[in-house]
């Protein structure tokens, strides 16, 4: 009987995903504890870490697929689904609560028509909760991608959103 070749069969994945993953793993896989830097690199390139890329990441780093999946699912920051064009992180922590974050959070959800972990139907914004942005002296705070905003009110949020939409 002919033996199967000793390689793991990988599912077909889109070429851009494969290229992005291999670009990152080639650069970073020899770092000690490389998995988090690799996942950051992939998420930076693609906006998320596609589930379909897990076997390839695992093979390149010589880990099991369970290891890779376990790490992606453990950390709030890593996403398995493509986000909206911009990600809005709303701080839910105590300092912001003391300055009206609960009202602000309700307002933003209503204005965008989404709950946390969801993306608006036009694909423009994803909404995520965050527990402290270190902007506690200027509460309440949100971050849009990596742009921090402080002393935010529902009115100022609306003004920003209107300016965004031009």
């Amino acid at each position: 009987m002919k033996r199967a070749p000793n390689i793991t069969l990988l599912p077909d994945i889109p070429e851009d995903v494969r290229a992005a993953v291999l670009d990152v793993t080639t650069r970073l896989k020899d770092l000690p504890g490389a998995l988090l830097p690799v996942l950051h690199g992939i998420q930076q390139a693609l906006g998320y870490v596609p589930e379909i890329s897990v076997p390839l990441i695992a093979r390149e780093l010589n880990l099991s697929r369970a290891d890779v999946h376990g790490v992606i699912s453990f950390y709030h920051f890593f996403r398995s689904k493509a986000p909206g064009r911009r990600v809005i992180y709303v701080c839910r922590a105590e300092s912001c609560q003391a300055m009206g974050a609960v009202t602000l959070e309700k307002h933003i959800k209503q204005r965008l028509g989404v709950d946390f972990h969801q993306t608006t139907t036009d694909g423009a914004y994803s909404l995520e909760p965050v527990y402290c942005l270190g902007n506690c002296a200027c509460s309440p705070a949100i971050m849009v991608d990596d742009e921090l905003k402080g002393r935010l009110t529902p009115e100022r949020f609306d003004a920003w959103l209107a300016a965004e939409k031009g």
Binding site: E94, Q97, A98, N135, C136, D146, G150
Partner: protein, 519 residues
């Protein structure tokens, strides 16, 4: 001659429009032909005045704030470049009372220097601690840190010198210095301010730690919510490498020290030291059993010193000025100074570095001048989401590790969040349990399951009648006891603090909706 204008690049200042202000000043200066050199400094920590613009004059720096984009042309009209009078004028920066009364040791340079300039760092006494350390033996460096009485500023308050001694005494071919920059507690931003405003002091502190224990590699584990700090640290590390402060041969000593920044990924638990090490190793951030201590078997199984940003950033001044200088600040077993972060509902939130012993009242009524809303203070959470809620009857408690333990709280990383009388303390207690449930690493049952049950029990208390509330309060206190005694780390082990303190000091907020309607 060109005039130097300071516009902070601190993330909080940017969040209030500092970038637009800097651009406008630059454009306006060009238009009126003024020779202006803009330095993007860190923040002085007077956050109600941010964006705070300073101008260098022969008589020292003059401050204006809070400056918005639309104020810039008026500032030019008022000739602020020569300290001209304007409604936003604050006078000489050093004379601002909030700043003048502080004892800034760790934050001596933050907000003053250009964080991208190694020359500026050296011109402000930078790298003097390292120069001193390079003339000393490892054991002597550890002794100085021990004698200074420096305790871990991340929250656990463990003596840094003892940790270092354990690591120094461990035999290994490789040791590591890890900086815990996963500043996740709400109400805290001191780490961020240092990393953005004076990154070289952290690099210097870590290098000294490396010399002290014989470690040649350091990692800064930085939270992903701090992209500004990442840029600042990476620029500073590159500059330090170029000038031989990092690398294979630190300042010609023949000793190596390499440093890199690693980004976290949004898990609060990774601020716990063993979980942080797991994460650095590329794994799920699950807490390890102790022993073995990280100082003996830490990162990749090697002896590792793991300290918080403020702890490591306090090391250079200890080495420069000596143990006695640092130890002379403070009270009891809490020696030196603590950068206290005032946050939440306050008129003047900001950073106050003072020797241990200053009281909550001085901080909240003095420095911060009461609430932003103008309503009375009702509850104060000290030490982040796992810290107790303190009622105003305890406002005279001094900032001291032991004094806070005595009132059933903890100082933690020195964050103080103030709530006015509109706060619903049952909702805050529920949030504490909810947060623990979201952020639990899942390894131990009291934390993983207890926090979920905690939310449910509080919901039943608030929804039910008096009898239901009493039954559930017994259950909640019992659950808290289990979590306090049975959790593997501080997350499950301290999440009951805010819950129990809310029950003890603000019991009336737990009255059921039915009862509230009846009264």
């Amino acid at each position: 001659m060109s005039i130097t204008v300071y516009v902070p690049r601190d993330a909080s200042a940017l969040s209030l429009g500092a970038e637009a202000v800097a651009e406008a000043i630059s454009a306006e200066a060009k238009q009126c032909g003024a020779d202006v050199h803009i330095v993007r400094n860190g923040s002085r920590g007077l956050y109600w005045l941010e964006p705070m613009v300073e101008v260098e004059t022969p008589a020292g720096r003059y401050a204006y704030g809070p400056v918005q984009l639309e104020d810039v042309s008026a500032l030019f009209e008022a000739d602020f470049l020569h300290a001209g009078k304007h409604a936003l004028g604050l006078g000489p920066t050093e004379d601002i009372a909030y700043l003048k009364s502080q004892q800034r040791l760790t934050f001596a340079r933050t907000g003053i220097v250009d964080p991208r300039s190694l020359d500026d760092y050296r011109a402000h006494d930078g790298y003097r601690g390292l120069e001193a350390a390079l003339r000393m033996s490892s054991a002597d460096i550890v002794n100085v840190v021990t004698d200074a009485g420096l305790r871990g500023r991340g929250g656990a308050a463990f003596p840094a010198g003892i940790k270092w001694k354990t690591c120094l005494d461990a035999n290994a071919d490789q040791k590591y210095i890890v900086c815990n920059a996963d500043e996740g507690d709400s109400g805290t931003y001191a780490d961020r301010m240092i990393m953005e405003g004076d990154p070289f002091v952290l690099i210097e502190g870590m290098t000294i730690a490396g010399l002290a224990v014989g470690a040649t590699h350091g990692y800064i584990y930085l939270r992903v919510e701090y992209p500004h700090a990442q840029r600042s640290l990476e620029a500073a590390i590159a500059a330090a490498e170029t000038e031989g402060y990092l690398g294979d041969d630190v300042r010609g000593s023949g000793k190596a020290f390499h440093l890199e920044v690693r980004m976290a990924a949004g898990a609060y638990i990774c601020g716990e030291e063993t979980s942080l090490l797991e994460s650095l190793e590329g794994k799920r951030g699950q807490v390890r059993f102790k022993p073995p201590l990280p100082a003996i078997q830490g990162l990749f199984g090697k002896p590792t010193v793991i300290n918080n940003v403020v702890t490591l950033a306090s090391v250079p001044i200890v080495l420069d000025k000596g143990a006695a200088f640092y130890r002379d600040f403070g009270m009891g077993k809490s020696r030196g100074t603590l950068p206290i972060q005032l946050a939440g509902n306050l008129k003047r939130p900001g950073l106050v570095e003072r020797a241990f012993g200053v009281t909550l009242r001085e901080l909240i009524e003095g420095y911060a001048d009461g609430t932003a809303s103008g309503r009375p203070v009702r509850a104060i959470q000290v030490g982040g989401p796992l810290g107790a809620y303190i009622p105003i009857s305890q406002l005279d408690t001094p900032i001291d590790y032991e004094a806070f333990i005595a009132i059933g709280g903890m100082l933690g990383h020195g964050g103080i969040v103030v709530f006015d009388d509109s706060v619903d303390m049952a909702a805050q207690a529920r949030y504490a349990m909810e947060f623990c449930a979201i952020e639990s690493c899942g390894k131990c049952t009291p934390c993983r399951i207890g926090s979920v049950r905690g939310v449910e029990v509080i919901d039943r208390m608030v929804a039910g009648d008096a009898a239901e509330r009493e039954r559930n309060e017994v259950l909640l206190r019992d659950l808290c006891q289990t979590m306090l005694c049975g959790s593997l780390c501080a997350l499950g082990g301290m999440a009951p603090f805010p819950v129990l303190s809310a029950l003890d000091h603000f019991h009336e907020d737990f009255s059921g909706a039915a009862e509230k309607a009846a009264t």
